[in-house]
Symmetry: C2
Subunit: 326 residues, 2 copies
């Protein structure tokens, strides 16, 4: 029921994913009459693979996590997470209120042993491919232990996505040992001693985009600012390019040729907008789609959830955490 | 003597500024034989407005602040700051080691009364013009009081640059009161009560680039990551655009027309690269030019120093701080 475009684009993305992946089963949680009506627009859909589970309430983007936890026991978000907890589904994807989704996920699913706080991770485009950046805002006050746990979780997630021996780095204001705040310096010393982790040291903001690491770890305050400022900058550059090619007749002619190419590039680059952000560290798979993601973004989020199911990500995380932390 | 391109581009930028501004006097501090040789390449220069003061040592980019403070008493940086302290010059501009420049500035010039820590501020391009972002990395562990002081200093600096009633915002992970870490929440309550400050609340990373505020305040860790990741992303987008227009013959033709326009845009957008970063909160004007700025960036930094002299920025800051803090 969530997201800036509501169930309409969620139904559309679901049906596209069902068509593309014959082994996929999807359960839509929300108001059945509304969902049935939207699904009726796609008569060819295989209803045997598309279930509806009713939920009377909807968590809005303005609801505080505490309201989501206590005030709405029959929200679509909570019902979906309960299905996951009861093993009726294997993963939950939501485009709704991030804070509420995190609070409900922790409450319903619980964290893995050894994990104090789940983290949000997303794939950020770099000059050499992608890096997994975490935390993206679930934890705004992190100590060194939390950063260490994020590094372990990010590394396992990158492996699950096919990266061999992922290069793990801490985001910092410089690459020398003396640089950084207390948490980062202490996290570095914890990571230097971690077996089975390819820790490569500090990376700076520009190094992230140069692709110097496969996993970049920071606290949620910094990660959220980095992600959103990157989105803001990318949008600003796109707007300036459009304006540039409208400035006069000559540039408009060039623009008519160049803009279609540039717009495709823009879609490739918008960080995280077209990729789901995973919640790592829970006893279950939860993927958050960007609220304004649209159909393609939702399909990406569903694909990310599918990969995490195939790779059995929570189990893998659990095993690695036992090796490293316990 | 500092910067990625050394004294050659510093001399070139100095002479361009002297030509453009007949009232300007510049003092170059460093190795006289080298500087004289470089200046000799510009026989038309008005030597009455270009002085050389000798300094035997050079602080390298690898020197730690402690080495700069104790190990090199005759460095060009320190001699320049001493000239400012002795009122022989009215401002110092450097393209050298940032940490060393900050440590020496604090040591030689001292901070203004009421200021615990100087901050670095630079103008960041936004969709509506520019915003002053601070701190950019001088202080990686800030409490609420520091953020409050940065807000006051940023507001006065924006006024000096011509902004009427600058909109001052705290950088945060959301705009609601409950969002953020402890320092940010506490700084917000301090700023809400500050007389004579146009505090508008929280701004997010994307809001910064949308131009929602004229002054954006954050701790130096966050500011440095934001600035460098923005530079990294802008470079990545530029590289992708170049690659896009080299992909095949058709796109190469389009690129031949579009790239000159886009490269001009890129120069406009590169955050802070073409603007000096000011150190605010010192008893004197110090402007740091980006190490890789080149001649145009150095000219910008010299212009920023000139404006701060005209506006008597440290005096104005001192007056405002007395009103607000003491």
């Amino acid at each position: 029921m969530g997201g800036d475009f509501g169930p309409r684009s969620i139904v559309q993305a679901s049906i596209a994913c069902l068509c593309a992946t014959p082994s996929l089963h999807l359960t839509l949680v929300g108001q059945p009459s509304l969902l049935d009506e939207l699904i009726a627009g796609y008569p060819a859909v295989d209803r045997a693979r598309l279930t509806i589970v009713p939920a009377a309430e909807v968590i809005t983007m303005d609801d505080r996590p505490s309201q989501a936890l206590r005030g709405k026991p029959d929200s679509s978000m909570r019902v979906a997470l309960q299905l996951l907890c009861d093993s009726k589904v294997q993963a939950v994807v939501s485009a709704g209120n991030t804070g509420a989704l995190m609070a409900l996920s922790r409450h319903v699913l619980k964290t893995l042993p050894g994990i104090d706080r789940p983290a949000m991770v997303a794939a950020i485009p770099t000059q050499r491919g992608y890096c997994q950046l975490l935390d993206l805002g679930a934890n705004v006050d992190c100590n060194a232990e939390h950063l260490f746990q994020f590094a372990v979780m990010g590394s396992v997630a990158a492996e699950a996505l096919g990266v061999v021996q992922p290069r793990v780095a801490l985001l910092n204001v410089g690459t020398e040992d003396i640089k950084g705040n207390q948490q980062v310096k202490l996290a570095a010393s914890l990571l230097q001693g971690a077996r089975g982790l390819n820790y490569i040291g500090f990376v700076e903001g520009d190094g992230l985009y140069r692709g110097e690491a496969d996993v970049v770890v920071c606290d949620g305050f910094v990660g959220n600012i980095l992600l959103k400022s990157s989105e803001g900058l990318a949008s600003m550059i796109a707007a300036r390019i459009e304006a540039l090619f409208r400035a006069n007749l000559a540039s408009r002619v060039v623009g008519a040729l160049a803009l279609p190419l540039l717009r495709r590039l823009q879609a490739d680059l918008a960080p995280a907008r077209h990729n789901g952000a995973s919640f790592l560290g829970l006893q279950g798979i939860v993927v958050k789609s960007h609220g304004s993601a649209g159909v393609q973004g939702l399909q990406s989020a569903i694909r990310r959830a599918s990969i995490e199911i195939q790779e059995n990500l929570p189990e893998r995380l659990h095993g690695r955490l036992e090796d490293l932390l316990l």
